[in-house]
């Protein structure tokens, strides 16, 4: 199939970017990223600069691939990352628009590559349980209800890709942050520090320049891992009860 691609090109973070047009002969067995690989090989053969994009595992788990495809982070297919998107969902003659995740807190590095290190700093602010190596008791000492463990797991499957931010008109990082807050707060091991954790993580989130949440829920719709906005509600509750009892932080 012959496709038209409109791809965002931007030399570096300070350069002004623009869309460039390309045409490519793809086949339906390819993945979307393999199609971009082919494009890049063609560009290199013409001694032109390939399109920079990030990727690593190519199976939907590392969270490295990003990009907005036809207006949707990770493309049109529900519950998938860009690397899991396949060309059989396109047909001959289609035009596809590809651009980077856009958010103030995710500055563009080059072309489709953005800097998502703000997420690391949110985790550093409190997204952990304070236990040193060797301090742990026997793993079966505290039984955890299966449903609780499953719910914590669901929140813990966030891959840190940032699609939620890219999807949100306010570029809010609430879904990402709340997933970590929930994962840890639901478990008995994480409960102890829950209050301080939520205060510190939210504070860092604001500091990074992410926007406010106004319940648009686009984040949930675009999240490749199905992280639920219930996590945001839980974080809001945690936050409220923590701020009432706290004179620290804030």
């Amino acid at each position: 199939m012959k496709l038209k691609l409109k791809i965002w090109r931007q030399k570096n973070k300070d350069a002004k970017g623009q869309f460039e047009n390309y045409t490519i002969e793809a086949n339906s067995h390819m993945s979307f990223l393999e199609m971009l690989d082919v494009l890049n090989e063609e560009l290199i053969a013409k001694k032109e600069e390939p399109v920079a994009f990030e990727h690593d595992c190519r199976e939907g788990i590392c969270g490295t691939c990003s990009m907005v495809i036809d207006g949707q982070p990770h493309g049109p297919w529900e519950g998938t990352t860009t690397c899991q998107l396949h060309m059989r969902h396109y047909k001959d003659g289609d035009t596809i628009v590809v651009e980077p995740f856009r958010a103030k807190a995710f500055p563009v590095i080059k072309d489709l590559v953005v800097d998502r290190s703000a997420f690391d700093r949110i985790i550093e602010a409190g997204g952990f349980i304070s236990v040193n190596t060797g301090q742990a008791q026997d793993a079966n000492a505290i039984p955890i209800e299966r449903d609780v463990a499953l719910a914590a797991f669901d929140a813990a499957t966030c891959i840190g890709c940032g699609a939620c931010v890219a999807a949100c008109p306010n570029a809010s990082a609430m879904l990402f942050t709340s997933a970590k807050v929930s994962h840890l707060a639901m478990l008995p091991q994480g409960e102890v520090e829950a209050k301080q954790r939520v205060l510190n993580m939210v504070k860092q989130m604001d500091r990074e320049g992410f926007g406010r949440c106004s319940n648009i829920t686009a984040c949930e719709a675009e999240c490749p891992k199905g992280i639920s906005i219930e996590n945001i509600a839980r974080m809001n509750r945690e936050y409220l009860s923590a701020s009432i009892g706290s004179d620290k932080s804030m």
Partner: protein, 666 residues
């Protein structure tokens, strides 16, 4: 002697405890004055950096990823082993030790493997305390499953995302140390050389991948946790950026590379679909519990399938060859990875392959669907259910067990595996070989340590499923924090290492020259095209089966390819910018040297063992033939220069606690 394993004295089961109790320690006030560089933040590196930071050392951690959370460890699916014996099914530290030694085809060190089995239990405790949400039973206790053909249930798992959850645990522990300032994190930094000062590892040269700037970082010692080199084959189940550069650069400075030819091929991966492909996807081993592997019995049927004139469903039961069940009646579809992979290659080489390229076999769930369907019907009190009902009930059971894998398969191939059997083929998955280390995980270069998949230490010639995660975390959380003290206790009076000395300048210049050289070739072929060609050579001659003739030929081919690379490579862009093509070029340049060493090693080892199958050394019915008389050793290679042959150092393996036996799955 370069390969002194430094195994401590004492009975096997007491070595580690005794050794730990008598080791040299570094006092807290001295720890604050000591700098440690950790390269790599996968399971091994993140757990090491976090723990060393907690202990009070000044740690600098490096990854070429944009965040430690993206390391290749994130992709591990199946689980992690530990000798907890929570299921009360007869597991023990000794049994895990024994299974690992035997599974490795008796080519690993007893003392290291026993220590691994001992600390395995602490890993699970630590992970749970960090909030890793392992699968649990209704009573709230941890659940286990059996994995990789062992007879006990010792595998802990978090759905199909065990690696992700364990890595997030380690990453969060690391984040906590970054926040306290005990670890300084350098994301998007790639180590391109190690710096030796008076023979000791004292620093690295790293390239800032955003700016291209070369940075000198100094420390009292250097810990590598940089993962495996499976991508030397181009196509593998490894993440795209996995590479050998960090390890190879230390080899170029005198570290020994051990057993590089020991690579693992996983039997159940989605087959290659076209030449644009750059990555293969693993289908979990657990599928072989219910999937029956077959190819058509008749060559004309296989041909008709390849040409699209027939499908699997057109082949009558009696015309199918369930070749694993035929060849290995005792283990059937559950034979270990190396055996299953080779059997698939043999039938495909004979012309029975079932996809367009002829390199695929079927994995069929029909029998399981029927079996489960019937038993479900029985449970529901349905008498004489029709075939459609049985199928429907059976499919539900399969969906509950493997739903996410079936979905993943369908996403990639566009075929419904409930209706048509899956197509699978073996692919490169893991590298048992790696940098040579002693019992302290220290290389032959003082002050240089290697952890996780990048060392060679625990898996011999074949790794068991769910044991790589265990090893990475054992090394990082529970071994290196102790053993590093053996070296550092002698360094407490060493002042901060000065990065302005000649050794640093020389190493930096060396990196600069390499980059300059690659950028200045300005030829016509892309990095990718060279990497792909290297992969073909490695796969054809140093993959699932190897022969002296083939290996000799391959060595010549690689040398020619390397020459062509330095004549006709084209790398777009410059050094002083974000330039993924340049990153790849540096990595492929090193793969082109590592590949040759793997071939030399495979040629040297005149036996078949584990993942290393030499065609000349097989039994009459095609099984691997080990040679314990001559090859019960670790082959540790010292690199000379490209014109000379590498030098072999042998570390003889001594087995005092287990008897060497032939593995048989008949």
């Amino acid at each position: 002697m370069k390969t002194n394993s430094k195994i401590p004295p004492g009975a096997l089961a007491e070595k580690w405890t005794q050794y730990r109790g008598t080791m040299n320690l570094v006092a807290p006030n001295n720890k604050r004055r000591i700098d440690i560089i950790v390269v790599g933040t996968g399971l091994a590196g993140a757990s090491a950096a976090a723990t060393l930071g907690e202990l009070g050392y000044n740690v600098k951690a490096f990854t070429f990823h944009d965040s430690p959370r993206r390391a290749h460890s994130i992709a591990a699916q199946g689980g992690i082993n530990a000798a907890k014996n929570y299921q009360n099914d007869g597991d023990s530290v000794y049994r895990l030790f024994y299974d690992t030694i035997k599974g490795g085809d008796y080519r690993s060190r007893e003392a290291n493997v026993h220590r691994l089995a001992e600390v395995s239990v602490n890993i699970i405790d630590q992970a749970v305390a960090q909030g890793v949400p392992f699968a649990r039973e209704y009573g709230g206790l941890l659940e286990n499953r059996s994995f990789g053909g062992v007879q006990v249930s010792r595998t802990f798992y978090a759905r199909g995302q065990t690696g992700q959850q364990l890595l997030l645990g380690a990453y969060q522990a690391l984040a906590r140390q970054i926040a306290t300032g005990s670890v300084q994190m350098y994301n998007r930094h790639e180590m391109l050389d190690v710096v030796l000062v008076d023979g000791k590892a004292r620093g690295i040269i790293a390239r800032n991948l955003l700016t291209g700037e070369l940075e000198r970082h100094s420390a009292h010692c250097v810990v590598l946790a940089t993962g495996g080199y499976g991508n030397v084959f181009y196509l593998s189940t490894n993440a795209m950026m996995c590479n050998v550069t960090a390890a190879w650069r230390t080899v170029r400075r005198g570290a020994l590379m051990a057993n590089p030819c020991f690579t693992q091929i996983h039997p159940t991966c989605i087959p290659v679909s076209g030449d644009y492909q750059s990555k293969l996807t693993l289908m979990s081993e657990s599928l072989r519990n219910d999937g029956r592997v077959w190819v058509p019995k008749k060559l004309e049927d296989a041909k008709a399938i390849r040409e699209g004139r027939k499908t699997a469903l057109d082949i009558a039961e009696e015309d199918r060859d369930y070749y694993l069940e035929r060849r290995y009646p005792a283990f059937g579809n559950l034979v270990p990875r190396d055996v299953a992979s080779r059997a698939a290659k043999i039938v495909c080489d004979e012309g029975f392959g079932v996809n367009q390229s002829g390199l695929a076999v079927y994995m069929d769930f029909t029998s399981a669907i029927e079996r489960y369907g019937k038993s479900e019907a029985h449970l529901k009190g349905l008498h004489d259910p029709d075939a459609a009902t049985i199928r429907e009930l059976g499919e539900k059971v399969i969906e509950a067990k493997y739903g996410n894998l079936f979905e993943m398969y369908e996403k990639i191939t566009g075929q419904n595996p409930y209706k048509y059997p899956m197509m699978i083929y073996p692919a490169i998955h893991y590298t048992m070989g790696g940098i040579w280390v002693d019992y302290n995980l220290e290389t032959n270069i003082p002050g240089l340590f290697a952890l996780g998949e990048c060392n060679f230490s625990d898996h011999g010639a074949n790794r068991l499923g769910a044991s790589a995660l265990m090893q990475g975390l054992a090394d990082g959380y529970f071994v290196i924090p102790y053993t590093i003290g053996q070296f550092l206790s002698g360094e407490i009076r060493t002042p901060k290492i000065d990065p302005t000395t000649a050794a640093f300048a020389e190493a930096e210049q060396n990196v600069r020259d390499r980059i300059e050289q690659l950028l200045s070739i300005k030829g016509n072929q892309s990095v990718e095209s060279f990497h792909r060609r290297l992969g073909h050579i490695m796969w054809d001659y140093c993959g699932m089966s190897r022969s002296a003739d083939g290996l000799q030929k391959a060595r010549q081919m690689i040398r020619e390819l390397r020459e062509e690379f330095y004549k006709d490579l084209f790398v777009p862009g410059d050094n002083d910018e974000y330039n993924p093509e340049l990153e790849k070029a540096l990595r492929v340049a090193d793969f082109l040297e590592m590949g040759e060493l793997m071939i030399v090693d495979a040629f040297n080892r005149n036996e078949s063992c584990g993942g290393h199958f030499r065609e000349e050394y097989q039994t009459e019915d095609g099984e691997a033939l080990r040679n314990d008389e001559e090859y019960t050793y670790v082959a540790a290679w010292e690199w000379q220069d490209l014109a000379k042959d590498p030098v072999l150092h042998k570390e003889e393996l001594v087995f005092e606690n287990v008897e060497l036996k032939t593995r048989s799955y008949k």
